[in-house]
Protein backbone atom coordinates (compact mmCIF):
# COMPACT_ATOMS: atom_id res chain seq x y z
CA UNK A 1 0.00 0.00 0.00
CA UNK A 2 1.12 3.55 -0.76
CA UNK A 3 -0.52 6.43 1.08
CA UNK A 4 0.22 10.14 0.87
CA UNK A 5 -1.32 12.38 3.54
CA UNK A 6 -1.25 16.15 2.99
CA UNK A 7 2.13 16.03 1.28
CA UNK A 8 3.41 19.45 0.26
CA UNK A 9 6.59 20.50 -1.50
CA UNK A 10 7.71 23.79 -2.98
CA UNK A 11 10.70 25.05 -4.89
CA UNK A 12 10.84 28.38 -6.75
CA UNK A 13 7.55 28.69 -8.72
CA UNK A 14 6.64 25.02 -8.51
CA UNK A 15 4.53 23.68 -5.64
CA UNK A 16 2.67 20.56 -4.60
CA UNK A 17 -0.02 21.44 -2.08
CA UNK A 18 -1.76 18.97 0.22
CA UNK A 19 -1.40 15.90 -1.96
CA UNK A 20 -3.55 13.02 -0.70
CA UNK A 21 -3.90 9.63 -2.28
CA UNK A 22 -4.07 5.98 -1.38
CA UNK A 23 -3.17 2.96 -3.50
CA UNK A 24 -4.38 -0.33 -2.07
CA UNK A 25 -2.00 -3.25 -1.49
CA UNK A 26 -1.19 -5.25 -4.62
CA UNK A 27 -2.93 -2.88 -7.04
CA UNK A 28 -1.57 -1.41 -10.25
CA UNK A 29 -2.11 2.36 -10.09
CA UNK A 30 -1.51 4.71 -12.98
CA UNK A 31 -0.83 8.38 -12.24
CA UNK A 32 -1.72 10.67 -15.13
CA UNK A 33 -1.30 14.37 -15.74
CA UNK A 34 0.14 16.95 -18.11
CA UNK A 35 3.90 17.26 -18.64
CA UNK A 36 5.52 19.26 -15.84
CA UNK A 37 2.59 18.93 -13.40
CA UNK A 38 4.73 17.21 -10.74
CA UNK A 39 4.19 13.50 -11.35
CA UNK A 40 7.90 12.70 -11.18
CA UNK A 41 8.23 14.82 -8.04
CA UNK A 42 5.55 12.70 -6.36
CA UNK A 43 7.52 9.55 -7.21
CA UNK A 44 10.72 11.10 -5.88
CA UNK A 45 9.00 12.06 -2.64
CA UNK A 46 7.66 8.51 -2.22
CA UNK A 47 11.07 6.92 -2.77
CA UNK A 48 12.84 9.48 -0.58
CA UNK A 49 14.91 11.37 -3.15
CA UNK A 50 13.07 14.57 -2.15
CA UNK A 51 12.00 15.50 1.35
CA UNK A 52 8.45 16.93 1.49
CA UNK A 53 7.98 20.23 3.36
CA UNK A 54 5.00 18.70 5.14
CA UNK A 55 2.78 15.64 5.29
CA UNK A 56 3.32 11.92 5.65
CA UNK A 57 4.31 9.13 3.26
CA UNK A 58 3.20 5.63 4.25
CA UNK A 59 4.40 2.47 2.52
CA UNK A 60 2.84 -0.81 3.68
CA UNK A 61 1.47 1.01 6.74
CA UNK A 62 4.95 2.17 7.78
CA UNK A 63 5.66 5.90 8.00
CA UNK A 64 8.70 6.27 5.74
CA UNK A 65 8.68 10.09 5.52
CA UNK A 66 11.99 10.52 7.35
CA UNK A 67 13.64 7.31 6.20
CA UNK A 68 16.60 7.27 3.82
CA UNK A 69 15.77 6.13 0.24
CA UNK A 70 17.65 2.85 0.72
CA UNK A 71 15.72 1.97 3.89
CA UNK A 72 12.28 2.24 2.26
CA UNK A 73 12.45 -1.01 0.26
CA UNK A 74 11.07 0.71 -2.85
CA UNK A 75 11.95 -0.23 -6.42
CA UNK A 76 12.36 2.82 -8.63
CA UNK A 77 12.62 2.83 -12.43
CA UNK A 78 13.22 6.38 -13.73
CA UNK A 79 12.21 7.61 -17.15
CA UNK A 80 15.16 6.46 -19.27
CA UNK A 81 16.07 3.53 -17.04
CA UNK A 82 19.13 5.44 -15.72
CA UNK A 83 21.38 2.39 -15.96
CA UNK A 84 24.84 2.52 -14.40
CA UNK A 85 27.23 3.50 -17.22
CA UNK A 86 30.17 1.20 -16.49
CA UNK A 87 28.48 -2.00 -15.27
CA UNK A 88 27.42 -5.13 -17.12
CA UNK A 89 23.75 -6.09 -17.19
CA UNK A 90 24.38 -8.77 -14.51
CA UNK A 91 26.13 -6.23 -12.27
CA UNK A 92 23.24 -3.79 -12.69
CA UNK A 93 20.62 -6.33 -11.66
CA UNK A 94 22.72 -7.59 -8.74
CA UNK A 95 23.70 -4.09 -7.56
CA UNK A 96 21.09 -3.72 -4.79
CA UNK A 97 21.94 -7.13 -3.37
CA UNK A 98 25.65 -6.40 -3.52
CA UNK A 99 25.12 -3.13 -1.60
CA UNK A 100 23.18 -5.17 0.97
CA UNK A 101 26.17 -7.54 1.21
CA UNK A 102 24.25 -10.62 0.11
CA UNK A 103 26.33 -13.73 -0.66
CA UNK A 104 27.69 -14.28 -4.16
CA UNK A 105 25.63 -17.43 -4.74
CA UNK A 106 22.38 -15.69 -3.80
CA UNK A 107 23.21 -12.74 -6.10
CA UNK A 108 23.93 -15.08 -9.02
CA UNK A 109 20.71 -17.02 -8.34
CA UNK A 110 18.51 -13.88 -8.15
CA UNK A 111 20.15 -12.25 -11.17
CA UNK A 112 19.73 -15.30 -13.40
CA UNK A 113 16.12 -15.87 -12.26
CA UNK A 114 15.13 -12.25 -12.92
CA UNK A 115 17.06 -12.11 -16.21
CA UNK A 116 15.22 -15.23 -17.36
CA UNK A 117 11.86 -13.77 -16.31
CA UNK A 118 12.47 -10.47 -18.05
CA UNK A 119 13.99 -11.94 -21.21
CA UNK A 120 17.46 -10.44 -20.80
CA UNK A 121 19.37 -13.62 -19.89
CA UNK A 122 21.33 -13.47 -23.16
CA UNK A 123 22.54 -9.94 -22.30
CA UNK A 124 23.97 -10.58 -18.83
CA UNK A 125 27.64 -10.16 -19.75
CA UNK A 126 27.07 -7.10 -21.95
CA UNK A 127 27.58 -3.50 -20.93
CA UNK A 128 24.67 -1.12 -21.50
CA UNK A 129 26.10 0.35 -24.72
CA UNK A 130 24.10 -0.77 -27.69
CA UNK A 131 21.09 -2.03 -25.68
CA UNK A 132 17.73 -1.09 -27.19
CA UNK A 133 15.22 1.06 -25.30
CA UNK A 134 13.14 -1.99 -24.39
CA UNK A 135 16.18 -3.93 -23.18
CA UNK A 136 17.25 -0.99 -21.03
CA UNK A 137 13.84 -0.81 -19.40
CA UNK A 138 13.86 -4.54 -18.71
CA UNK A 139 17.29 -4.33 -17.09
CA UNK A 140 16.19 -1.33 -15.01
CA UNK A 141 13.10 -3.27 -13.96
CA UNK A 142 15.21 -6.27 -12.97
CA UNK A 143 17.53 -4.05 -10.97
CA UNK A 144 14.56 -2.62 -9.05
CA UNK A 145 12.94 -6.04 -8.47
CA UNK A 146 16.12 -7.70 -7.19
CA UNK A 147 15.78 -6.12 -3.75
CA UNK A 148 12.25 -7.56 -3.42
CA UNK A 149 10.65 -4.15 -2.98
CA UNK A 150 7.34 -3.56 -1.21
CA UNK A 151 6.26 -1.19 -3.98
CA UNK A 152 7.45 -0.42 -7.49
CA UNK A 153 7.55 3.12 -8.90
CA UNK A 154 7.73 3.42 -12.70
CA UNK A 155 8.30 6.79 -14.36
CA UNK A 156 7.03 6.64 -17.94
CA UNK A 157 8.58 3.23 -18.60
CA UNK A 158 6.93 2.83 -22.00
CA UNK A 159 6.80 6.30 -23.54
CA UNK A 160 10.31 6.13 -25.04
CA UNK A 161 9.76 2.73 -26.68
CA UNK A 162 8.94 1.98 -30.32
CA UNK A 163 5.26 1.43 -31.10
CA UNK A 164 5.63 -2.33 -31.65
CA UNK A 165 7.48 -2.84 -28.35
CA UNK A 166 4.91 -1.10 -26.19
CA UNK A 167 2.39 -3.96 -26.05
CA UNK A 168 5.16 -6.40 -25.10
CA UNK A 169 6.36 -4.12 -22.33
CA UNK A 170 2.84 -3.54 -21.00
CA UNK A 171 2.20 -7.28 -20.91
CA UNK A 172 5.52 -7.76 -19.12
CA UNK A 173 4.76 -5.08 -16.51
CA UNK A 174 1.36 -6.59 -15.73
CA UNK A 175 2.85 -10.09 -15.51
CA UNK A 176 5.60 -8.88 -13.18
CA UNK A 177 3.08 -7.11 -10.93
CA UNK A 178 0.90 -10.22 -10.61
CA UNK A 179 3.84 -12.60 -10.16
CA UNK A 180 5.52 -10.53 -7.46
CA UNK A 181 2.16 -9.48 -5.92
CA UNK A 182 3.54 -5.97 -5.68
CA UNK A 183 1.92 -2.52 -5.46
CA UNK A 184 2.81 -0.48 -8.55
CA UNK A 185 2.59 3.25 -9.18
CA UNK A 186 3.12 3.93 -12.89
CA UNK A 187 3.42 7.50 -14.14
CA UNK A 188 2.36 8.23 -17.70
CA UNK A 189 0.42 10.63 -19.87
CA UNK A 190 -0.87 7.87 -22.15
CA UNK A 191 -4.51 6.95 -21.60
CA UNK A 192 -3.90 3.74 -23.56
CA UNK A 193 -1.42 2.57 -20.91
CA UNK A 194 -3.91 3.50 -18.18
CA UNK A 195 -6.69 1.51 -19.87
CA UNK A 196 -4.58 -1.58 -20.35
CA UNK A 197 -2.75 -1.66 -17.04
CA UNK A 198 -4.53 0.23 -14.31
CA UNK A 199 -6.50 -1.19 -11.43
CA UNK A 200 -6.90 2.42 -10.37
CA UNK A 201 -6.22 5.72 -12.13
CA UNK A 202 -5.02 8.85 -10.34
CA UNK A 203 -5.10 12.24 -12.03
CA UNK A 204 -2.84 15.10 -11.15
CA UNK A 205 -3.82 18.72 -11.76
CA UNK A 206 -2.64 22.04 -10.34
CA UNK A 207 -0.16 20.47 -7.92
CA UNK A 208 -2.54 18.03 -6.28
CA UNK A 209 -4.07 14.63 -6.99
CA UNK A 210 -7.72 15.46 -7.38
CA UNK A 211 -9.43 12.49 -8.86
CA UNK A 212 -9.32 8.81 -8.17
CA UNK A 213 -11.13 6.18 -10.15
CA UNK A 214 -11.13 2.54 -9.18
CA UNK A 215 -11.63 0.10 -12.00
CA UNK A 216 -12.95 -3.39 -11.61
Amino acid sequence: MIKLENVSWKVDQFALAGVNCSIPEGKYAVLMGATGCGKTTVLEIICGLRQPDGGTVLVADVDVTRMLPGERQIGYVPQDGALFPTMTVAEQIGFGLQVRREGKERIVEVVSRLAEDLGVAHLLERTIHGLSGGERQRVALGRALAIEPRVLLLDEPISALDEDMRDDMMALLKRVQVKHAITVLHVTHSSQEAEQLADCVLRMEDGSIINRELQG
Partner: protein, 277 residues
Protein backbone atom coordinates in the same frame (compact mmCIF):
# COMPACT_ATOMS: atom_id res chain seq x y z
CA UNK B 1 50.45 6.36 -67.57
CA UNK B 2 46.83 7.35 -67.13
CA UNK B 3 47.41 7.54 -63.34
CA UNK B 4 50.30 9.94 -63.92
CA UNK B 5 48.16 12.14 -66.15
CA UNK B 6 45.42 12.07 -63.52
CA UNK B 7 47.95 13.05 -60.86
CA UNK B 8 49.31 15.93 -62.97
CA UNK B 9 45.83 17.16 -63.76
CA UNK B 10 44.70 17.08 -60.10
CA UNK B 11 45.80 20.67 -59.22
CA UNK B 12 44.04 21.95 -62.34
CA UNK B 13 40.80 20.16 -61.39
CA UNK B 14 41.13 21.47 -57.86
CA UNK B 15 41.47 25.08 -59.08
CA UNK B 16 38.46 24.63 -61.35
CA UNK B 17 36.42 23.27 -58.47
CA UNK B 18 37.43 26.21 -56.28
CA UNK B 19 36.27 28.63 -58.99
CA UNK B 20 32.89 26.96 -59.46
CA UNK B 21 31.95 25.77 -55.97
CA UNK B 22 31.59 28.43 -53.21
CA UNK B 23 31.27 25.67 -50.59
CA UNK B 24 34.67 24.28 -51.59
CA UNK B 25 36.15 27.82 -51.42
CA UNK B 26 34.81 28.23 -47.89
CA UNK B 27 36.36 24.97 -46.63
CA UNK B 28 39.59 25.70 -48.51
CA UNK B 29 40.00 29.05 -46.72
CA UNK B 30 39.23 27.52 -43.32
CA UNK B 31 41.67 24.69 -43.97
CA UNK B 32 44.30 27.22 -45.04
CA UNK B 33 43.99 29.11 -41.73
CA UNK B 34 44.22 25.83 -39.78
CA UNK B 35 47.22 24.64 -41.79
CA UNK B 36 48.98 27.96 -41.23
CA UNK B 37 48.62 27.73 -37.46
CA UNK B 38 49.60 24.03 -37.32
CA UNK B 39 52.69 24.78 -39.43
CA UNK B 40 53.61 27.65 -37.11
CA UNK B 41 53.62 25.31 -34.07
CA UNK B 42 55.55 22.61 -35.89
CA UNK B 43 58.06 25.19 -37.20
CA UNK B 44 58.75 26.45 -33.64
CA UNK B 45 59.41 22.93 -32.37
CA UNK B 46 61.49 21.84 -35.38
CA UNK B 47 63.62 25.01 -35.28
CA UNK B 48 64.35 24.43 -31.59
CA UNK B 49 65.07 20.74 -32.17
CA UNK B 50 67.54 21.23 -35.03
CA UNK B 51 69.32 24.24 -33.51
CA UNK B 52 71.90 22.03 -31.75
CA UNK B 53 73.33 18.59 -32.43
CA UNK B 54 71.92 15.64 -30.45
CA UNK B 55 75.37 15.12 -28.93
CA UNK B 56 75.47 18.66 -27.51
CA UNK B 57 71.98 18.26 -26.09
CA UNK B 58 72.77 14.89 -24.48
CA UNK B 59 75.93 16.18 -22.87
CA UNK B 60 74.00 19.20 -21.55
CA UNK B 61 71.45 16.86 -20.02
CA UNK B 62 74.22 14.95 -18.22
CA UNK B 63 74.85 17.84 -15.85
CA UNK B 64 74.11 16.88 -12.24
CA UNK B 65 72.04 20.03 -11.65
CA UNK B 66 69.86 19.42 -14.68
CA UNK B 67 69.32 15.78 -13.76
CA UNK B 68 68.23 16.82 -10.28
CA UNK B 69 65.86 19.36 -11.80
CA UNK B 70 64.35 16.65 -14.05
CA UNK B 71 63.87 14.40 -11.03
CA UNK B 72 62.35 17.20 -8.94
CA UNK B 73 60.01 18.28 -11.75
CA UNK B 74 58.68 14.76 -12.28
CA UNK B 75 58.23 14.29 -8.52
CA UNK B 76 56.52 17.62 -7.80
CA UNK B 77 54.29 17.50 -10.90
CA UNK B 78 53.08 14.01 -10.02
CA UNK B 79 52.38 15.05 -6.41
CA UNK B 80 50.60 18.18 -7.64
CA UNK B 81 48.49 16.17 -10.11
CA UNK B 82 47.44 13.78 -7.34
CA UNK B 83 46.61 16.57 -4.87
CA UNK B 84 44.77 18.52 -7.60
CA UNK B 85 42.63 15.49 -8.44
CA UNK B 86 41.80 14.84 -4.78
CA UNK B 87 40.71 18.47 -4.43
CA UNK B 88 38.99 18.81 -7.81
CA UNK B 89 36.73 15.75 -7.48
CA UNK B 90 34.69 16.98 -4.45
CA UNK B 91 34.63 20.62 -5.61
CA UNK B 92 33.68 19.69 -9.20
CA UNK B 93 30.97 17.38 -7.85
CA UNK B 94 29.52 20.07 -5.58
CA UNK B 95 29.43 22.65 -8.37
CA UNK B 96 27.85 20.22 -10.83
CA UNK B 97 25.18 18.85 -8.50
CA UNK B 98 24.07 21.61 -6.12
CA UNK B 99 22.63 25.09 -6.34
CA UNK B 100 23.49 27.25 -3.36
CA UNK B 101 23.60 30.86 -2.29
CA UNK B 102 26.77 32.57 -3.53
CA UNK B 103 27.58 29.81 -6.07
CA UNK B 104 28.48 32.33 -8.79
CA UNK B 105 30.88 34.05 -6.37
CA UNK B 106 32.49 30.74 -5.38
CA UNK B 107 32.93 29.83 -9.06
CA UNK B 108 34.57 33.20 -9.75
CA UNK B 109 36.95 32.79 -6.82
CA UNK B 110 37.91 29.30 -8.02
CA UNK B 111 38.78 30.80 -11.43
CA UNK B 112 41.05 33.51 -9.98
CA UNK B 113 44.26 31.42 -10.25
CA UNK B 114 43.53 30.94 -13.97
CA UNK B 115 43.27 34.64 -14.77
CA UNK B 116 45.81 36.03 -12.27
CA UNK B 117 49.35 36.62 -13.59
CA UNK B 118 51.39 33.62 -12.33
CA UNK B 119 54.05 35.85 -10.78
CA UNK B 120 51.36 37.56 -8.70
CA UNK B 121 50.21 34.18 -7.37
CA UNK B 122 53.76 33.54 -6.17
CA UNK B 123 53.85 36.92 -4.48
CA UNK B 124 50.45 36.37 -2.82
CA UNK B 125 51.65 32.98 -1.51
CA UNK B 126 54.82 34.57 -0.16
CA UNK B 127 52.83 37.27 1.65
CA UNK B 128 50.27 34.75 2.99
CA UNK B 129 53.11 32.83 4.61
CA UNK B 130 54.36 36.06 6.21
CA UNK B 131 51.11 36.39 8.20
CA UNK B 132 50.79 34.97 11.71
CA UNK B 133 48.73 31.97 10.55
CA UNK B 134 50.97 31.40 7.54
CA UNK B 135 54.03 31.65 9.75
CA UNK B 136 52.58 28.99 12.07
CA UNK B 137 51.89 26.62 9.15
CA UNK B 138 55.40 27.32 7.84
CA UNK B 139 56.89 26.41 11.22
CA UNK B 140 55.11 23.01 11.10
CA UNK B 141 55.66 22.27 7.39
CA UNK B 142 58.25 24.60 5.85
CA UNK B 143 56.82 25.83 2.53
CA UNK B 144 58.73 28.99 1.64
CA UNK B 145 61.83 28.22 -0.45
CA UNK B 146 61.40 24.43 -0.09
CA UNK B 147 60.19 21.54 -2.27
CA UNK B 148 56.81 21.74 -0.48
CA UNK B 149 56.66 25.33 -1.70
CA UNK B 150 57.28 24.16 -5.28
CA UNK B 151 54.34 21.76 -4.98
CA UNK B 152 52.08 24.41 -3.42
CA UNK B 153 52.94 26.99 -6.10
CA UNK B 154 52.22 24.43 -8.85
CA UNK B 155 49.08 23.23 -7.06
CA UNK B 156 47.40 26.66 -6.88
CA UNK B 157 47.24 26.85 -10.67
CA UNK B 158 47.01 23.15 -11.56
CA UNK B 159 44.01 22.56 -9.32
CA UNK B 160 42.03 25.43 -10.89
CA UNK B 161 42.25 23.68 -14.27
CA UNK B 162 41.51 20.28 -12.73
CA UNK B 163 38.35 21.67 -11.07
CA UNK B 164 37.10 22.99 -14.41
CA UNK B 165 37.68 19.59 -16.01
CA UNK B 166 35.98 17.64 -13.20
CA UNK B 167 33.02 20.01 -13.10
CA UNK B 168 32.52 19.52 -16.84
CA UNK B 169 32.80 15.75 -16.38
CA UNK B 170 30.17 15.61 -13.61
CA UNK B 171 27.91 18.00 -15.56
CA UNK B 172 27.83 15.46 -18.37
CA UNK B 173 27.04 12.51 -16.09
CA UNK B 174 23.35 12.34 -15.18
CA UNK B 175 22.40 12.31 -11.50
CA UNK B 176 19.64 9.76 -12.18
CA UNK B 177 21.82 6.63 -11.83
CA UNK B 178 23.04 7.95 -8.45
CA UNK B 179 19.43 8.45 -7.35
CA UNK B 180 18.60 4.87 -8.32
CA UNK B 181 21.68 3.61 -6.44
CA UNK B 182 20.39 5.43 -3.34
CA UNK B 183 17.00 3.72 -3.59
CA UNK B 184 18.92 0.43 -3.76
CA UNK B 185 20.67 1.09 -0.46
CA UNK B 186 23.66 3.37 -1.15
CA UNK B 187 24.35 6.56 0.75
CA UNK B 188 24.95 9.66 -1.43
CA UNK B 189 28.71 9.14 -0.97
CA UNK B 190 28.35 5.43 -1.76
CA UNK B 191 26.46 6.22 -4.97
CA UNK B 192 29.19 8.66 -5.99
CA UNK B 193 31.88 6.08 -5.26
CA UNK B 194 30.22 3.05 -6.87
CA UNK B 195 28.36 4.59 -9.81
CA UNK B 196 29.58 8.05 -10.78
CA UNK B 197 33.34 7.90 -10.14
CA UNK B 198 33.86 4.77 -12.28
CA UNK B 199 32.00 6.57 -15.08
CA UNK B 200 34.15 9.69 -14.54
CA UNK B 201 37.42 7.81 -15.15
CA UNK B 202 38.18 9.60 -18.41
CA UNK B 203 37.53 12.99 -16.81
CA UNK B 204 39.77 12.15 -13.85
CA UNK B 205 42.63 11.14 -16.17
CA UNK B 206 42.11 14.38 -18.10
CA UNK B 207 42.01 16.48 -14.88
CA UNK B 208 45.19 14.90 -13.48
CA UNK B 209 46.93 15.25 -16.86
CA UNK B 210 46.03 18.90 -17.28
CA UNK B 211 47.22 19.62 -13.71
CA UNK B 212 50.43 17.71 -14.39
CA UNK B 213 51.10 19.50 -17.69
CA UNK B 214 50.34 22.95 -16.20
CA UNK B 215 52.64 22.23 -13.25
CA UNK B 216 55.48 21.15 -15.53
CA UNK B 217 55.55 24.59 -17.16
CA UNK B 218 54.91 26.67 -14.03
CA UNK B 219 57.70 29.18 -13.59
CA UNK B 220 56.58 32.50 -12.03
CA UNK B 221 54.98 31.31 -8.78
CA UNK B 222 57.68 28.67 -8.23
CA UNK B 223 60.44 31.25 -8.71
CA UNK B 224 58.87 33.80 -6.34
CA UNK B 225 57.60 31.44 -3.64
CA UNK B 226 60.12 28.57 -3.71
CA UNK B 227 63.17 30.29 -5.23
CA UNK B 228 65.63 28.95 -7.81
CA UNK B 229 68.23 27.24 -5.66
CA UNK B 230 70.19 24.66 -7.67
CA UNK B 231 69.89 21.09 -6.40
CA UNK B 232 67.11 22.21 -4.04
CA UNK B 233 64.08 23.97 -5.55
CA UNK B 234 65.12 24.06 -9.18
CA UNK B 235 62.52 22.62 -11.57
CA UNK B 236 62.71 22.40 -15.38
CA UNK B 237 61.35 25.88 -16.25
CA UNK B 238 63.75 27.36 -13.66
CA UNK B 239 66.58 25.44 -15.34
CA UNK B 240 65.72 26.93 -18.75
CA UNK B 241 65.83 30.40 -17.21
CA UNK B 242 69.08 29.73 -15.25
CA UNK B 243 70.84 28.18 -18.25
CA UNK B 244 69.77 31.05 -20.53
CA UNK B 245 70.93 33.62 -17.98
CA UNK B 246 74.47 32.13 -17.95
CA UNK B 247 74.50 31.85 -21.77
CA UNK B 248 74.27 28.04 -21.98
CA UNK B 249 71.87 27.85 -24.92
CA UNK B 250 72.44 24.09 -25.44
CA UNK B 251 71.38 23.36 -21.85
CA UNK B 252 68.29 25.55 -22.18
CA UNK B 253 67.32 23.90 -25.49
CA UNK B 254 67.98 20.39 -24.17
CA UNK B 255 65.71 20.97 -21.16
CA UNK B 256 63.07 22.66 -23.32
CA UNK B 257 62.99 19.68 -25.70
CA UNK B 258 62.68 17.37 -22.73
CA UNK B 259 59.65 19.35 -21.57
CA UNK B 260 58.17 19.13 -25.08
CA UNK B 261 58.71 15.36 -24.92
CA UNK B 262 56.93 15.10 -21.53
CA UNK B 263 54.05 17.23 -22.83
CA UNK B 264 53.71 14.92 -25.84
CA UNK B 265 53.58 11.88 -23.54
CA UNK B 266 50.77 13.54 -21.55
CA UNK B 267 48.89 14.29 -24.77
CA UNK B 268 49.22 10.71 -26.01
CA UNK B 269 48.26 9.31 -22.58
CA UNK B 270 45.14 11.48 -22.54
CA UNK B 271 44.15 10.34 -26.03
CA UNK B 272 44.69 6.68 -25.10
CA UNK B 273 42.72 7.09 -21.87
CA UNK B 274 39.95 8.78 -23.84
CA UNK B 275 39.70 5.79 -26.14
CA UNK B 276 39.75 3.29 -23.30
CA UNK B 277 36.81 4.77 -21.44
Amino acid sequence: MSRLVKFLKAPWHFMLRLRRDPNARFWFLISLATAGYVLFIVAMLVATAVHSTPGDLLSALQSREIQHSIYLSLLTCSLTALLSLLTAVPIGYLLARRKFFGKALVESILDIPIVLPPMVIGLCLLILFQTRMGGFVDSVIPFTYTVFGVVLAQFVIGVAFAIRTMRGTFDQLSQRPEDVAMTLGCSRGGALWRVTLPAAGKGMVAAASVAWARSLGEFGPVLVFAGATRMKTEVLPTTVWLELSVGNLEGAIGVSLLMVFFAMIVLVAMRMAGERW
